[in-house]
């Protein structure tokens, strides 16, 4: 849903829902809450709660229909694309 590589740890954070995030590192994965608490899976370690929130909130906003506004940075690029 919203997959990002952590710039510092290089682990992958992927929001499955707005509450559950799959974290993958060195080929192992685990599921975590949006606050970074372990739920299940092979990867059981300290993960970054802020990164979990970041990808989860993307899904929450997407579900709520919050897109990039024309005045956001991303919105500016969307507008440029549409103009082409």
């Amino acid at each position: 849903m919203h997959q990002m590589i952590h710039p510092l740890t290089r682990a992958t954070y992927d929001a499955e829902t707005d509450e559950i995030v799959k974290v993958t590192r060195d080929g192992k994965s685990g599921l975590y809450t949006r606050n970074g608490e372990y739920i299940s899976g092979e990867l059981k370690q300290s993960v970054d709660p802020e990164m979990c929130r970041w990808v989860a909130s993307y899904v929450e906003h997407k579900n709520a229909g919050v897109g990039a506004s024309a005045r956001d940075r991303a919105g500016a690029f969307v507008a440029m694309k549409e103009e082409k």
Partner: protein, 453 residues
């Protein structure tokens, strides 16, 4: 030209902000080049100012009853007779447009038995107390004393509403509860020069969100006064954000932080490409289509600045947009005017204000206003969207992407407040960095002066 900070032990590795400005595709104004660092030393900041009732009461008396503070925007009271209510702690101020170009502010209390004269903003032709009907003109003269025969002691001249000092700048209305406050222009210092090119008065309040927080107002605002927290609180953006290459400057009662984007964080242990930096700036996921492409020979900064200029030119004078540098188009430029007013510079639309929630010392109101340029008729200002202490800031859909950033910030703010009580069992102060937390140290430098007066 700012001096190069390369090889300085007390600055982060990586490009200095002055070097980043040298790559700008547009004219960079002197105010941008000017560096004004301050060294407030390395002493700990006692933490009881955040947690104790005593300090809250003292702040009420020594700061909030004294200082100039942002009350509302001119556009909130465009017509003669429009009123606004600004509450600070246990006090309330009534702001009234009394003439096309005249604004008055009064203590919001009836001189009979003290009821608030008005509970909220709105249009009025007179200021009539809802309790027994004492009535003043918009200009503050006592007009009606019900059962006047029963108040032989009430002399209408002496019962005029007290006019509080009002300061106006850039569409912002400031008030002070101190009749002897220093002149507003003196208090502002050179702030208006810094914002000269940003046309703050030609903006409208496009969004206005007020989030109740379970933390002291200073705890709340300090989450927005440095870039030191970015790598930990907002890790996803640091691929394209020079967090510790930020510059911090101090000018009298205000301070400025500038955090460059389109440049990698010195925390990274790998070298992102220009494309990877732009993807990070646009929050692109691995599984998503690219929004913007950086052509060969171009930089993420140039591309982001170009897109930003195009977007702003749609709602603002294109000549004005061309007069702004890349830095002003895309960097995070966040000012703080003591004690609680945080307008962003450049073309960033953000203004923050933080204050105690009522008379609570461990609760606060964290407000975000988007001040946007407009074409044609001035759109009406957005109504305040209140979000409760236990509700999520993600509800603030009107803030778009920024609500998600705040979701990360608000994850920490109440926990800082809670943690400080426990910290006090171990040490009496919080430890601040010397440079990156300059704005916090600058705040306390002024704070201590007010508190010891």
């Amino acid at each position: 030209m700012g001096k190069n900070i390369k090889n300085r032990q007390d600055r982060s590795p990586g490009l200095s902000y002055a070097e980043i400005l040298d790559t700008d595709t547009h004219h960079v104004s002197e105010i941008w080049r000017t560096e004004s660092p301050a060294d407030f030393g390395t002493a700990d900041q006692p933490s009881d100012v955040y947690t104790s009732r005593h300090f809250h009461d003292l702040e009420m008396e020594k700061i909030w009853l004294k200082v100039w503070q942002f009350a509302c925007r001119e556009e909130h009271i465009p017509e003669i007779g429009d009123t606004e209510v600004y509450d600070i702690g246990k006090f309330s101020v009534l702001i009234v447009r009394t003439g096309v170009d005249e604004i008055k502010a009064y203590p919001n209390a009836c001189l009979h038995r003290g009821r608030l004269l008005r509970d909220c903003a709105g249009h009025a032709t007179e200021l009539r107390c809802p309790y027994h009907g004492y009535t003043w003109s918009l200009g503050g003269e006592l007009k009606v004393v019900p059962s006047e025969w029963d108040f032989p002691q009430v002399n209408k001249d002496e019962y005029a509403l007290t006019e509080l000092p009002v300061g106006r700048w850039g569409g912002f209305i400031f008030i002070s509860l101190d009749l002897d406050v220093e002149p507003f222009e003196e208090f502002l210092g050179t702030l208006s020069l810094h914002f000269e090119n940003y046309r703050m008065d030609e903006r409208f309040v496009e969004a206005h969100v007020a989030k109740v927080m379970r933390c002291n107002w200073k705890t709340a605002q300090e989450a927005f006064m440095e870039a030191f927290h970015l790598a930990t609180t907002h890790p996803s953006i640091i691929t394209g954000t020079g967090d510790c290459n930020s510059r911090y400057d101090v000018f009298g009662n205000f301070a400025r932080a500038v955090t460059p984007t389109g440049t990698p964080s010195p925390h990274l242990t790998w070298d992102p490409s220009e494309q990877e930096m732009l993807d990070a700036m646009l929050d692109r996921g691995q599984d998503e289509e690219r929004l913007g492409v950086v052509p060969e020979g171009k930089t993420a900064r140039e591309m982001a600045a170009m897109a930003s200029r195009m977007r702003v030119a749609q709602v603002a004078d294109p000549e004005w947009v061309e007069s702004l540098s890349d830095a002003e188009m895309i960097d995070s430029i966040y000012y703080t005017l003591f004690p609680n007013f945080h307008p962003w510079g450049g073309f960033n639309r953000i203004v923050y204000r933080f204050r105690p929630f009522g008379d609570e010392h461990e609760m606060s109101i964290f407000e975000t206003l988007y001040l946007s340029p407009f074409k044609g008729d001035r759109p009406p200002p957005a109504k305040v969207h209140w979000i409760g202490a236990d509700e999520s800031i993600l509800e603030a859909h009107e803030l778009g992407f920024l609500a998600r950033v705040f979701d990360q910030d608000t994850f920490n703010m109440p926990q800082v407040q809670k943690g400080m009580h426990t910290l006090q069992l171990v040490k009496p102060g919080i430890t601040l960095s010397r440079y990156q937390e300059t704005k916090l140290r600058h705040f306390f430098d002024i704070y201590n002066k007010y508190m010891s007066k």
